[in-house]
């Protein structure tokens, strides 16, 4: 299974139209194929980064299903709808993702994914994208052993984040080396402390910690705070 990750730079005055099109037409059109489902529709939380930026993640069963999706968009039944979506955004940047070996999310039962825009509470995700200066595999292994394994042992009431998926970019469809964590924020008080804590610990004085070990493989990453829409199939 692969996942299409798209970052849409939406035209501000067309933001509502863009969301309406995705919710009312695009999601259902994808579901007419057995091999594709929209999973997440996420708004980049204003005040924490770029305005009018939307992230969508679509599950695709396999290469043949992705091929078919491309054919539908370029010259098939999705061509006109794709053009209308294009009219509502400046551009979209996409990449194809594979789950890494330890990711909790590996497969999605596509026929179980809601496509009816049912409403629910909002969730906020911290999407971390990292670019190691070491081989990509070493970064993914570090996340496994020194981040994911430790976080799994944290009592639920103390958890800031729940790692729901970890991805690497499929060869040739984006940046290498790059890996992505999709982390659901579980505790907003803890998030508040993270954002307001003035005492940034010096990782070099904490030998053996994740922050210190992490610097051995990367010092560049970006966190995005992404809020699901009220109808996002997954949230």
């Amino acid at each position: 299974m692969l996942f299409v990750h798209e970052t849409h730079r939406v035209i501000g005055r067309h933001a509502s139209t863009f969301e309406d099109l995705v919710r009312d037409e695009w999601m259902g059109a994808l579901a007419r194929s057995e091999g594709t489902r929209l999973l997440w529709y996420l708004n980049h939380a204003m005040g924490s980064g770029p305005a009018y930026e939307v992230v969508t993640i679509t599950a695709v069963a396999d290469g043949a299903a992705w091929d078919a999706l491309g054919a539908r968009m370029v010259a098939g039944d999705l061509r006109d709808l794709a053009t209308r979506l294009d009219s509502c955004r400046h551009e979209v940047e996409g990449k194809l993702l594979f789950p890494v070996y330890w990711s909790a999310l590996q497969q999605v039962e596509l026929d179980q994914v809601p496509t009816d825009a049912r409403r629910h509470d909002l969730s906020v995700y911290m999407q971390d994208t990292g670019w190691p200066d070491a081989p990509l595999d070493e970064y993914i292994e570090l996340w496994d052993q020194d981040y994911w394994q430790i976080m799994r042992q944290t009592p639920p009431e103390q958890k800031l984040l729940d790692i729901q998926a970890c991805f690497q970019v499929a060869h040739g469809s984006g940046i290498r080396p790059e890996a992505i964590l999709m982390q659901k924020i579980m505790n907003f008080e803890t998030l508040g402390r993270l954002l307001t804590n003035a005492e940034e610990p010096d990782p070099t004085t904490w030998p053996g910690t994740y922050m210190a070990k992490g610097l051995e493989v990367r010092d560049q990453w970006e966190s995005k705070l992404l809020r699901t829409s009220a109808w996002s199939p997954l949230w």
Binding site: G70, V74, V92, E93, G94, Q168, H171
Partner: protein, 233 residues
């Protein structure tokens, strides 16, 4: 047929090893199967842009073949090769592209050389355009109807031809985006383009330069030189 287009930021001191990884690793490893081939290996010409930049174009049979190739890189027999490559490049930026309806095609995969080629380098102008929102289809159509034929006209200012016309496949790069890979057949017109003002008749009303501004006003040109061993010239 699909094309994996990669733009590599190579570690300067490891440039020769990087090239060898593609020539002696990637190209022959793909040749063990029948659904993917390295098509071009280009160096971005020094003096025309960023240093130590390489463009590779890999042809794959279809989407399923592409995903099988990507899986080999992620956790299959090409994983170690990719891990070694991580030490030879700062990063690469890849896109998966499909041909435009009017694009010329390249030889079948089975006919693409997989080694033993040595020839004079060719120079390409790779143009990448970003049409205005909602105008991708209009741009593709106009480029095929007006721009491409103009390259073959007797009074063409540039002596080059489109080798491939490409657009990004969904979710595998930036969109809207169109890339034209154009092979130069003569150098003097390029030098004239670089050193002389563009005459008004080329930019005035009715010209492609003028009318296409309704569809896009941003593009980027790269001058790319094939390696002597590049499978396609």
């Amino acid at each position: 047929m699909l094309f994996v287009h990669e733009f590599h930021k190579v570690v300067g001191k490891r440039a020769a090893a990087f090239e060898a990884a593609y020539r002696d690793g990637w190209m022959p490893r793909l040749a063990e199967g029948d659904e993917a081939r390295l098509a071009w290996y280009f160096d971005l010409s020094h003096g025309s842009g960023l240093a130590y930049r390489v463009v590779t174009v890999t042809a794959v049979a279809d989407g399923a073949a592409y995903v099988r190739l990507a899986e080999r890189v992620a956790h299959g027999d090409l994983q170690a090769w990719a891990r070694d490559l991580d030490g030879l490049q700062h990063e690469s930026h890849g896109r998966v592209l499909t041909t435009l309806p009017w694009s010329p095609s390249i030889p079948p995969l089975a006919d693409i050389p997989t080694g033993g080629v040595t020839r004079e380098p060719s120079l390409y102008m790779e143009d990448t355009m970003w049409p205005f929102p909602g105008r991708l289809r209009d741009y593709v159509e106009a480029a095929g109807a007006v721009y491409r034929p103009s390259l073959g006209a007797e009074d063409a200012r540039m002596h080059m031809n489109v080798a491939l016309g490409l657009e990004t496949l969904p979710g595998a790069g930036r969109s809207p985006e169109v890339t034209l890979l154009q092979r130069l057949s003569s150098l003097p017109p390029l030098i004239a383009l670089l050193t002389q003002d563009i005459p008004p008749e080329v930019t005035g009303p009715g010209s492609w330069m003028h009318e296409a501004l309704d569809l896009r006003d941003r593009w980027r040109s790269r001058l790319l030189r094939t390696a002597p061993w590049s499978p396609l010239p």
